[in-house]
Symmetry: D2
Subunit: 306 residues, 4 copies
Amino acid sequence: MINLEKIRNKNLPLTKNGHVASYIPALARVKADQLGIVIYDLDSNQLQSVGQSQVRFAIESISKVITLLYAIKQRGFEEVNSRVNTRQSGFAFNSILNLEIEHEKKPLNPFINAGAIMTTSLIKPQDNLTPFEQILAFAQEICHDPELSLDEEIFYSEDETGDVDRSLAYYLKAHMMIQDNVTDSLRTYFKQCSMKVTATSLANLGAVLANDGIKPWDNERIISSQAATFVKSLMMTTGLYNESGVYSARMGLPTKSGVGGGLMSAAPHKCGIGVFSPPLDKDGNSVAGLSVLNELSDELNLDIFK
Amino acid sequence: MINLEKIRNKNLPLTKNGHVASYIPALARVKADQLGIVIYDLDSNQLQSVGQSQVRFAIESISKVITLLYAIKQRGFEEVNSRVNTRQSGFAFNSILNLEIEHEKKPLNPFINAGAIMTTSLIKPQDNLTPFEQILAFAQEICHDPELSLDEEIFYSEDETGDVDRSLAYYLKAHMMIQDNVTDSLRTYFKQCSMKVTATSLANLGAVLANDGIKPWDNERIISSQAATFVKSLMMTTGLYNESGVYSARMGLPTKSGVGGGLMSAAPHKCGIGVFSPPLDKDGNSVAGLSVLNELSDELNLDIFK
Amino acid sequence: MINLEKIRNKNLPLTKNGHVASYIPALARVKADQLGIVIYDLDSNQLQSVGQSQVRFAIESISKVITLLYAIKQRGFEEVNSRVNTRQSGFAFNSILNLEIEHEKKPLNPFINAGAIMTTSLIKPQDNLTPFEQILAFAQEICHDPELSLDEEIFYSEDETGDVDRSLAYYLKAHMMIQDNVTDSLRTYFKQCSMKVTATSLANLGAVLANDGIKPWDNERIISSQAATFVKSLMMTTGLYNESGVYSARMGLPTKSGVGGGLMSAAPHKCGIGVFSPPLDKDGNSVAGLSVLNELSDELNLDIFK
Amino acid sequence: MINLEKIRNKNLPLTKNGHVASYIPALARVKADQLGIVIYDLDSNQLQSVGQSQVRFAIESISKVITLLYAIKQRGFEEVNSRVNTRQSGFAFNSILNLEIEHEKKPLNPFINAGAIMTTSLIKPQDNLTPFEQILAFAQEICHDPELSLDEEIFYSEDETGDVDRSLAYYLKAHMMIQDNVTDSLRTYFKQCSMKVTATSLANLGAVLANDGIKPWDNERIISSQAATFVKSLMMTTGLYNESGVYSARMGLPTKSGVGGGLMSAAPHKCGIGVFSPPLDKDGNSVAGLSVLNELSDELNLDIFK
């Protein structure tokens, strides 16, 4: 068994090298020197954790994984694939450049903001549940976290400051990529980003993806094998935004980050990993978190290209 | 053992759906209805082949893998990494957009033309051998193909028509990314693209990569484990140009293509694959070849995200 | 005196070479074979007109001239200049590329949509009048056209289909260029585009600009000399969108176009010109209208570079 | 008569606000605190000058005006117009972005480097004279300056450091815009930029343009009226690169700048102006020179939009 305490001690000082997200108050006031690490090992079917493993924080962009999985579940693989591409953008997560320069007919992938809003817009009301209510229920189940819930203050702030996302959404609408009501989709999108999770919830999510779509804690399939494989590929090629290629070459571990300081990885057939450490590098990824993942990839031999 | 004959028969008609590269005469006159498939299985340490497995064709962009591996061998991993990035470009293989828009200090990756020329420029004369002589010798060894050689006619044509590459090279020079003589580097680059290989050579190359850098035919290490891992990651994220993300999600198999109709894949610890079929899709990838790889990935369970 | 009838007869057939704007019903059903030409000659202080000189049509982008002049009047030259630039964009009127690629802090000019929305947003409620009420009153006065009014149906359609403009406006808001309520500014902007004018109103507007800001019909100054000069320069460098440089070189006549089929020119100290002819070329400029202006520039020696 | 001495004294201190071009030694060692102003008044047919009016300096980009005029003379207006556009680029003078993003078939205008190299490439050997020999002879005549000659050291340096221009030229060649030998055209281009002129030569050139193509000193036509008009329009819309729109709105005076510190203006029917002052602003235009032109435009009422 790996010595997580040692890895945590070594990497905790790195929290000084980044900056906590500050575009909204609820993120800005998060304590910086936190580092929580949780590994869900599929072999032993056990969780191993250290540090702030139960502290709740905003899921932010990691919610894009959940919404994508749920959209595939509700609308089917083909439908989702026909509406959003799986290419890299070459630009920042909130850029419109590539869409306009290349006259794209689909957002480039579900993890840049344009593609994520698109994906969210695909989810329809069902069984008297709004899209967000469905996403929340699905998130609770796939993260094995019944406490996972919406933080109203964060949602309010995300909505208040989300003008770039509104700009992207109206661009999609103008070019017929989104047909539905943009305001509703944005509301759902801002809500999904405002769910509060723990490093443990993320390790559970990673474990489902690593376990081919089957929840290891009850051995029930929650998503198709195809969806689990597809999403792991996307996490590798675009999960860390514009730096995805860099980390693919460095640690070879499908990973998705969020500006709340979370990181979620899935090492096929081996383990799911959740990390929480708020200070971010200039690309919006957790500094200490990425360093931890790098070490775990080396020590546990998780690089899938190796 | 997989029935390659059946797969070939099923996919041969797809050669009608693409167009043989026509920008130079030597490529334009290649017979279209060819399909050669070779698998180097690491378990049995055996080659299995069907169709045009011994027909020679121009290696073109697949040479970028060889040059990158050789540059790492000669100059070291750190030096190469400090001069060329591992990110996706979001644009065509011969585009300069991303470099200029983002004011990049390094070409985005070694498989777009700018990055490939950069990589080639890193190789220095050594032991009285020119850079190209070294590349050729290394290619013969890593492809287990002593007949692998330069096609002078193709080289002449590549040089004759290579104005976009010249434009990229002078851009790199102007921005201090290349310090050396541009004309020499371009000459070496055009030569490396003009080497003639077979689907068998490519299967051998793939097998070395799949085998962690050790030639399976003689059990000797030719490249470091780190280099083999690094290059497989790059093949996944940028090996099929702008469509890399699409194929990563579809077949999860590290692959590099060339406009000569070749495809080379490396499935870690499982096998190397070489395919040859000249007609290309609009992105410059072999139509029948990609379809064959897709099937092989499914049937042999090669998707590394699965 | 110039023979306008002859010029009209010669150019009327050109209405067959373009397409009436069709993105909203009220524009799509406008009769194509119309051509109205009006010249306000400053020497004789007389209007000369031919054809559909009194037919009302949507002012569309020509309203940007009016709003810019009014913003300068209300907020001052310095304030307006500090918020919107006077450069060319190199892209289409509704593109965001240049803003994002160059990290611009100001929209490039007041005649591309981003800059026009920005300019409209500068106008504040005053004397119990909304921004649009002020713009309308100013438009009636500077066009010498008390009948000039809002077309509610067009406004409704512009609002309905204005998603690209919404996208641009939220981009400006997100980057702190617009501080105010975006919804209000967009509403005002869509209204200003939906005012109905005639070729005669436009000739009057052109005459004021040509006459250094003094209404020639009553000899009263309505805008400063500085504003009149400034706006004529902008009409020359960006008045015909991306084709401005082409027509500057061809006819040297400060001109602004609108997709309603209107064209308004101002030849300093000589005359104002209004043309109406609905069929547009691919850049959104009236085909017959531009041809008429070209001829008038030659025959009346209006090229200011000559 | 205007008091040039007073204007010079007022603006000379501005030479402290810029930086002399330093990319080549011959430019870097030019004395900074110089300001020469020359006006060729068409009314009086007299030159008025002050300061460094006879100091020789590198013409650099102002040569683009001369080459364009000569290309029109040799190849005809239609031919030149069919090969290079008259639009603004929205980017820096040495950018390729717009060409590639918009898939342009022609360089955007003759004053950005791509278009200037294109224009130079149109000039053919004639009467046993190389293109450059013809350009030089034409420059001597239109500038009324028989001493105007090539500076070999500057040419050598321009050639040595001209990799961005080489990159642009090969891009044009690759996209079939230039058909001829790129090396020859670049050589001619670097030479034309390396001619040495004085503020007086530039005032003479401006006077020919202002005088509709007729040399005012001997009353002989050297270029067509059409060419003179065309070039003045281009100087207005693109003569100061990306800042052209800004100065068009500010001073309304067709002007071309060079990084040697020269500025040449043509006020139709009024005067030609040459200014020399080496320190440049960040856009590569002479700081004191632009300020002088601004004042002259005001005091002599030269704004053509007024």
